[in-house]
Amino acid sequence: MRIVAEGICKSFSNQVLHEVDLAIPAGSIHGLVGENGAGKSTLAKIIAGLMQADAGTLHLDDAPYSPPSAAEALRAGVAICTQELSLVDDLSVSDNILLATSTVKLARIDRRAADARASTLLDLVGLRDVAPRTRVRSLSLAEKQLVEIAKVLATDAKLLILDEPTSALTGPQADRLHAILRDRAIAGACVIYISHRLSDVLDICDEVTVLRDGRVRLALPSERLDEKTLIREMAGADADFNARRRTSKQLADARLTVENLRTAALSHPISFACKRGEILGIAGLAGAGRSELLRTVFGLDRRIGGSVRIDADGIATEVRTPRQAIRCGAGFVAEDRAGDGVFPAQALKFNITVAGLGRIADRAGRLVRSQERSAVLKLLKDLRVKSDGVDQKMRELSGGNQQKSLLARWLHCESRLLLLDEPTRGIDVAAKLAVHEELVRLRDAGMSIVAVSSEVEELQSLCDRILVLSKGKLVAEFQPGNWSQEAILAAAFSEYVQEPQGLKQAHGSA
């Protein structure tokens, strides 16, 4: 099957795909790479019918194709394995595979045939030890990912789309998958392969397209590409951010000291410190452990070992729970604003004072409303939050104003250490600049800030220092003098590109 996409556009709150073209001949594996947020997954979901394009056309073997749903796409021979697993935890492996493939809804299920087919597919993806009747819930993440792949293979689709299929897999497991994809391609299928593992992409793909900011930067045969070129194209030209550096007066003593911290997601012990009046950036790819690092520092996620100490009035205090962290002057703004941040149905004043209720209460624990009102009004004014007053419901505010309100929550607590996960995600450019301005103002007033962002430019324009995580490991530290976007991205990819490249061996033995 051959697919041609022309002029694909897609917007959410901002435009994520700008007139993207893509042409993949039958029997070919096509790599799709780009930074987080470059538009890879959106493009994949449009082709698979999970989303619809705003503009542009798709053709499958010269026939116009615009699937309204994933089921329609599947009927046309297009199957996707998304980044987010779509297995039903409480059903067996065999049932999950059956769900993906059966088109007749009321036919009696032939258990034995279904199990036999599941068993063949499990063998194929290398899960010989998993019985078809095993509940998905009891599988490991890597096993689930392989079942998800088996599900897609079961469909006999002629166009397979795999979005980060190997993120949880070991080298040999990934090699086996690549060999299967090769076989499918030889049989005439067409494969779209999205991955952060650039060496894999160059190894198995016939052609690679690089997306940046929703635009195609380059589409070339793999032989003419190398990892360096890919990273350079993904990052784009280096803007001269360093020229805009401010001088900041940092004090020598650390406000946050993390030593040998280990969690389930952070396989290698991590140590770093954040000084008074410093903005420390944390870069890395999605899934590198950035959010987990911040959450663990704040005491939300369990740690396996190591220590987190926050300076509270000159005494470095070990913190293990959010309550302790807040008492030591820390505040945390989560990546998922709706899920872990705001109380959407509650008033603005409720949202802002909720973490520091003691500050607006008398000794008996009774809230003093006048005090609450004046404290909130002052914060709204200081942070220039646009609202209809302290009683307005949080959900009625724009994303940018919600984000400022979350900052206000911690300013109300007089926090001296802010842990910010994607502080400007999903807010418009003007609001983003306003948040940046505010953070710099706070920094200059002595606040310590640790900020995670997927946008390297954002970190470069905001931070005094940048740490890079790659696959759960702290791999590099950059100072304003030596950071280029290319170098930071190369560091972010470093733990992924060093994967054992055993594909050729796997081919040889197969």
Binding site: T321, R323, A325, R327, F343, P344, L357, R366
Partner: protein, 306 residues
């Protein structure tokens, strides 16, 4: 829950009273008032607990059985062990608190589904009530009835006064204290509450203990009203309490509600019961109408706060 919400509930209550006043000649009478005064306290205190539990995003289906357990324990303390009344009453209330703590420990700390946990407790507490009373109504004598009898000529019993005071106290706690805000926060967005330094497990467990203690107090009220400990008391009370809370504007999804609203809900449910009985509506029809009123209240609620 805006001021408008409670006004609507209050207007509905007035409308119901006027309606029965016009239809039934005997509605505005001392009998009605005394029936109401007798019925109200137990349902009121249980509804207070239920409201807090619902706002915190949980539910407590065990309150009716816990009421019977408390009454049974009080009965056993007096009839079998010969404890003085105040001590027996205390033991009964503590028994309710222990049931609530069990709910909280299992539901909040072990994160078992609270619906199922309290459903189990509904059976366990009922069984224990039968065990405590040997499956019979235990006669307790006149002294315990003092709590439920009108004081002097005021028509107001100590039980009724206690219930009213608790409404005022818990309304204040919910609206104007740190703990009240924490309950709303946990029910509104548990993860965000945790990020804000609130321990959701601790808050939910505390609220379930309060609900158990209040159900225990309702057991004392029930026993003093009847002058005996009845192991069959409080069957289906959890549904009336949930209905009162919901009529009063409490969201079953958590994060919203008020204790004063729940009290208005209790009044509506009780007045409806008494009024319908007085105009000769049969028991099955009474249930149909009460059920319809609950559903209407939820529709109203959806309309005023989408």
């Amino acid at each position: 829950m805006g001021a408008l919400g409670e006004h609507v509930v209050l207007l509905s209550l007035v409308a119901i009273i006027v309606f029965f006043g016009l239809i039934s000649e005997s509605f505005f009478s001392l009998t009605t008032v005394s029936t109401l005064v007798n019925q109200l306290p137990a349902l009121t205190v249980v509804a207070i607990g239920m409201t807090l539990v619902l706002i915190s995003g949980a539910i407590d289906l065990s309150v009716g059985s816990v009421l019977a357990l408390s009454a049974g324990v009080i009965g056993a303390c007096i009839a079998v062990f010969g404890l003085p009344l105040p001590l027996a009453a205390l033991v009964g209330i503590v028994a309710g608190g222990l049931a609530g703590f069990t709910n909280g420990a299992l539901g909040a700390y072990l994160r078992l589904p609270i619906f199922i946990v309290t459903l189990g407790m509904l059976e366990v507490a009922r069984g224990l009530a039968y065990l405590a009373t040997d499956s019979q109504t235990v006669y307790l004598g006149a002294s315990i009835q003092g709590f439920a009898l009108p004081i002097g000529s005021t028509g107001i019993s100590a039980a009724f006064a206690t219930a009213l005071l608790l409404v005022i106290a818990f309304d204040f706690i919910l609206k104007s204290t740190i703990f009240g805000r924490q309950i709303v926060a946990v029910g509104s967005n548990e993860s965000a509450a945790e990020v804000s330094g609130i321990d959701p497990r601790q808050v939910r467990c505390t609220v379930l203990v309060i609900s158990g203690l209040l159900a225990g107090l309702a057991g004392l009220m029930n026993a003093s009203y009847l002058g005996s400990a009845d192991p069959n008391a409080g069957v289906g009370l959890e549904l009336s309490a949930i209905a009162a809370a919901v009529i009063g504007g409490t969201s079953l999804m958590g994060g919203r509600g008020s204790v004063s609203g729940a009290f208005l809900g209790v009044l509506i449910v009780s007045v409806l019961q008494i009024g319908l009985a007085q105009i000769g509506v049969t028991e099955p029809m009474k249930r149909v109408i009460t059920g319809a009123v609950i559903i209407m209240a939820v529709i109203l609620d959806r309309w005023r706060a989408p």
